[in-house]
């Protein structure tokens, strides 16, 4: 017989007291558990509330305006408008750009056109320019985002830091892809005293909000700007200021992309800078009329002094909530006007990336799970190895996704640098390359080239095509030859020293090695992120198949694969599908690896081939949350971010619902 426990050592609490404790704890439990429900409700509520202005009725007068300062003959007027640190800016040329900086004392406007000393050089996505009249007298430099300090750039270039430089304005506008069709333009900023003081001139959505240019000492300047109203109305493709016989002339070549049915119009005004009078108002077009019309129009203005050109466009369509939603889901992002911003390209980017990701990750993950569960080795050492693999996979699931982004960047996007760089890939297939020029008659044309790295020599009889790929005959003249008077001849007249920009045309099957920071690399990177999740979920599903089924099939003489194909897979597929849906929804919401891989850049269109640059929905939200909040207007970027989040949440919630319902239906015991 065991000794009786020593009851005197027990502390006896009354049953009432213990029940009170128990009930109190139950209350605590219930409150805490409902906390997650409350949080979810508050989260969704907050997002819906902040998203409402985007979809709700807001001003029908959607306006976008721009300003362009010209002071062709005497730049004093322009200088008055500018202070130290101001943006002095504005020459786009095909391929590389513009740069200009205002000197420390506001007394010098420097253009790299007239005195380039260094560059352009490319770092990552971006092209940088640095210039000045000599290496020791560095005046200005450009930088794509204005986020880098001056010193670090100078260091990269091996230049000594100039004290006077610290006070100068730095300016940036940049096109990464080059050519007349920008694929991406980054925002610009100005650096003063090594600090980013402000973001100037948002040009990242084909819309130049503030473009100020001072033209001095140079015979012509050309400015290209594009304007989009609700993403699709019009593009003013190219303008050029030319000084001829003492008279300045602003020429414009305009390409419309009329798409919207509403009564929208673009309105271009020339406003005299000095007295603020509207000098000429022209070019009022209705997009409805434009449909089916000739796509190219020309307009000329005589410029006699300093001008402030303003353009604005309006939408007078009265849009319903449904229209707003459709617009939001299809339109381009817009960094200057939240009311017209959309998420179209990012949405398509997400669709592309997640589809490819699922197609790669599912076979790989399910295959691994089958191997680990159904092809267990008998040898002890092999079994140990298998356990190691298992532990490895479990740990991979815990690796921060940003680490996968770094891996993807190195392994897929640049392929460790063994196959050449992104811009100069070792292998490419399917692309056609052109150099795009602007003729003296202000018409763009294309010259096909075999090797994209060398621009063609413009000689008489060279093969050339116009914008619609119709062959044309070029009239090539020398750098200082007089222009022909005949308008039709002038149309395709080009000077032999004209500079062109690379204009690649890549069809959907375009392929290159290394993959570059595009769709395929992004999909493969996300595949790495979700692979462990899929493996683990599939393993769980396979484990849930009772071994009696397996043994029965084995007893009938099936091979292991026959067991898997005919017994295990049919029984485990619902469970696997649940895991697959949940992991794909993780891929849809994942941003960190793609921020590293793709960068946060402006993308104006849906991807067209596997190597195309993309933005995805979470990156778009990340970008939007970083935008400044303005108190003006009914819609600001926080609202747009909320609306994009709402779209993402709706997609993910429906995925989750499908997964949960699928699991509820299929969790029947199989044995």
């Amino acid at each position: 017989m065991n000794a009786r426990p020593d009851f005197s050592k027990f502390e006896i609490t009354s049953i009432q007291a213990r029940k009170r404790w128990s009930n109190a704890f139950l209350c605590l439990c219930a409150v805490t558990s409902t906390f997650s429900i409350i949080i979810l409700a508050v989260l969704i509520f907050t997002i819906v509330i902040s998203a409402l202005p985007v979809f709700g009725p807001h001003s029908d007068q959607l306006e976008s305006t721009g300003r362009l300062l010209f002071s062709p003959q005497d730049s004093s007027a322009g200088r008055e408008a500018l202070g130290a640190g101001d943006l002095v800016q504005g020459i786009f040329r095909p391929h590389n750009l513009i740069r200009g900086g205002l000197g420390k004392d506001n007394d010098q406007v420097l253009w790299s056109d007239t005195e380039p000393t260094k560059g352009p050089f490319t770092i990552g996505f971006y092209t940088f320019e640095i210039g000045g009249d000599s290496k020791d007298n560095l005046r200005y430099m450009t930088n794509a985002k204005g986020t880098q300090s001056v010193a670090s750039f100078l260091e990269k270039l091996g230049l000594p830091k100039q004290p006077e430089f610290a006070d100068a304005a730095l300016v940036v506008l940049e096109s990464a892809a080059g050519g007349l069709d920008f694929e991406k333009i980054t925002t610009s900023g100005a650096l003063v005293n090594d600090q980013v003081i402000e973001q100037f001139a948002a040009v990242d959505d084909w819309q130049i909000k503030l473009l100020t240019g001072v033209v001095s000492e140079s015979d012509f300047a050309e400015i290209r700007f594009q304007e989009s109203n609700r993403g699709e109305l019009s593009q003013i493709r190219k303008t050029r200021v030319r000084k001829r016989a003492g008279q300045m002339k602003l020429l414009m070549s305009i390409l419309y992309e009329a798409g919207h049915e509403g009564g929208e119009y673009a309105d271009l005004k020339l406003r005299r800078y000095t007295d603020d009078q509207i000098y000429k108002s022209q070019l009022k077009v209705d997009s409805a009329e434009l449909k089916g019309m000739s796509r190219r129009q020309r307009a000329g203005f005589d410029l006699g002094g300093s001008f402030n050109i303003e353009w604005r466009s309006k939408s007078q369509s009265s849009a319903s909530t449904l229209d707003h939603i459709t617009h939001f889901l299809t339109a381009k992002p817009n960094s200057s006007d939240p009311a017209t911003a959309g998420i179209g390209p990012a949405l398509w980017g997400s669709v592309w990336v997640c589809t490819i990701c699922a197609f790669v990750a599912l076979p790989l993950g399910i295959g691994t799970a089958i191997f680990l569960e159904e092809f267990k080795p008998t040898h002890r050492f092999l079994l140990f190895l298998q356990n190691l693999v298992q532990l490895n996979i479990t740990n991979l699931a815990g690796v921060p996704s940003i680490v996968y982004g770094i891996l993807g960047l190195t392994a897929f996007a640049t392929m460790f640098g063994v196959f050449g760089s992104d811009k100069e890939p070792l292998f490419r297939f399917g692309g056609k390359y052109y150099y795009q020029y602007l003729s003296e008659g202000m018409y763009p044309f294309l010259v096909p080239v075999a090797d994209p790295s060398t621009p063609p020599q413009l000689i008489a009889g060279i093969r050339a095509e116009d914008g619609d790929h119709q062959p044309i005959t070029l009239n090539v003249i020398g750098p200082s030859d007089p222009l022909p008077d005949d308008e039709t001849l002038l149309q395709w007249t080009v000077r032999s020293d004209s500079e062109g920009g690379l204009h690649p045309e890549k069809p959907w099957f375009y392929f290159q090695v290394p993959f570059g920071r595009g769709v395929l690399a992004a999909a493969l990177t996300l595949m790495l992120v979700i692979l462990p999740v899929i493996i683990i979920a599939s393993q769980e599903a396979i484990k849930a198949v009772p071994s009696s089924l397996r043994e029965g099939a084995m007893g009938l003489g099936s091979t292991r694969w026959q067991v898997v194909r005919n017994v295990i897979l049919p029984a485990a597929i619902p469970g696997m599908m649940t895991g697959a849906i949940l992991s794909v929804s993780r891929a849809i919401g994942e941003a960190a690896p793609l921020v590293v891989l793709c960068g946060v850049v402006y993308i104006a269109r849906a991807p067209e081939h596997l190597m195309d640059f993309i933005s995805v929905l979470p990156i778009q939200i990340f970008y939007l949350t970083g935008q400044p909040i303005s108190e003006e207007g009914q819609v600001n970027f926080q609202n747009v971010a909320a609306a994009a989040s709402l779209v993402l949440l709706v997609v993910l919630l429906s995925f989750n619902t499908v997964a949960i319902v699928l699991r509820q239906i299929t969790t029947k015991p199989l044995s």
């Binding site: 558990s33 010193a151 991979l396 960047l409 091979t559 949350t625």
Partner: protein, 318 residues
């Protein structure tokens, strides 16, 4: 079932197509090697992560301006200051730990109590609501949490509790990360609690315990290893969380424990550097590898311990 019904041959027998054994074996081995290579891919991923991070980290330390000892002991992280820049990892580690600490203060109690409630108390109907809610909470994209922290949590803390917060601050980012971690803690802990055999509970009830006694004095201690592993995995998740801190915690590396001001975490630094225009060969570019390597080692260590505890614990009741 009527008697007249004739017994049909199983479809498997009528449809069978006999193939030569050689052919079947060949196919079997092809499929097996295919599946094996799929499995080996995950090994390849691990090896390439470690190899890549190690190689590039070595290249980072080959720069004249950085030394391993400065990196590991330095208290200033200012990579963009050019030649005067310093690479001491501690401000970033401090930021990361601050965020993880705040997150755990939120996630551990809430997650554990939710798990106990789900496992021991909740009626079936409530369970059927709570579980999907937790799953949805886990599935909300982290960018959305970041946005939530910025636009709801910070203003809420300011207006309700009167805390002086900077626009970007560690507190609200940490709370958002904590919310993100609640489902991780609760579902893993619940698995651990569920794995405690019924007989232990029944024995305790037999001794006259209340539900509370059973839960806190029997089930939780019995499942402690599983709960600790859940905690560790949640910590790893909080340390590796990127988008919330990039959006809501700011971008100023600071060696501070003040949660009301702007800080920067390791993940935040990587995003902030990689999203912009960093040179492919500059020191900042390689610094992200060094930071990522540190992050990887930290999370891997925590995850590894967590998983080992979990595996060991699983065996204990089988």
């Amino acid at each position: 079932m009527s008697v007249s019904e004739t017994i049909q041959q199983p479809a498997a027998l009528t449809n069978r197509k006999l193939k030569p054994l050689r052919w079947v074996r060949a196919r079997e081995s092809v499929i097996k090697s295919g599946l094996l290579s799929a499995t080996l891919f995950s090994i390849l991923v691990t090896v390439s992560i470690v190899g890549l991070l190690f190689r590039e980290t070595v290249r980072f330390f080959q720069f004249d301006r950085v030394t391993v000892s400065d990196f590991l002991t330095g208290t200033t992280w200012s990579p963009t200051l050019g030649a005067g820049g310093q690479f001491g990892i501690w401000p970033l580690i401090c930021g990361t730990l601050l965020i993880a600490g705040i997150a755990m203060l939120v996630a551990l109690p809430l997650g554990l109590i939710t798990a106990i409630f789900l496992s021991e108390y909740a009626p079936r109907k409530l369970r059927n609501v709570l579980k999907p809610v937790l799953e949805v909470l886990a599935g909300v994209p982290t960018v959305v949490y970041g946005f939530f922290a910025l636009t709801f949590i910070t203003p809420f803390l300011q207006s309700t509790f009167g805390i002086q917060l900077e626009y970007f601050n560690a507190l609200s980012a940490g709370i958002a990360v904590g919310i993100l971690c609640i489902p991780t803690v609760s579902s893993l802990s619940e698995d651990a609690l569920q794995a405690v055999p019924r007989r232990l509970r029944e024995a305790a009830y037999g001794l006259g315990c209340t539900k509370f006694d059973v839960a806190t004095k029997v089930v939780v201690p019995a499942a402690l290893s599983g709960i600790i592993s859940a905690f560790l995995l949640a910590i790893a998740r909080a340390v590796g969380e990127t988008m919330i801190v990039s959006i809501a915690a700011g971008a100023t590396p600071r060696l501070t424990l003040d949660p009301c001001i702007e800080i920067q975490t390791m993940t935040g630094y990587i995003t902030n550097t990689a999203k912009g225009d960093v040179s492919n060969f500059g020191i900042e570019y390689f610094s992200i590898y060094a930071v990522a390597f540190t992050l990887f080692i930290m999370t891997l260590g925590v995850t590894l311990i967590g998983n080992l505890i979990r595996l060991k614990f699983q065996e204990a009741y089988e």
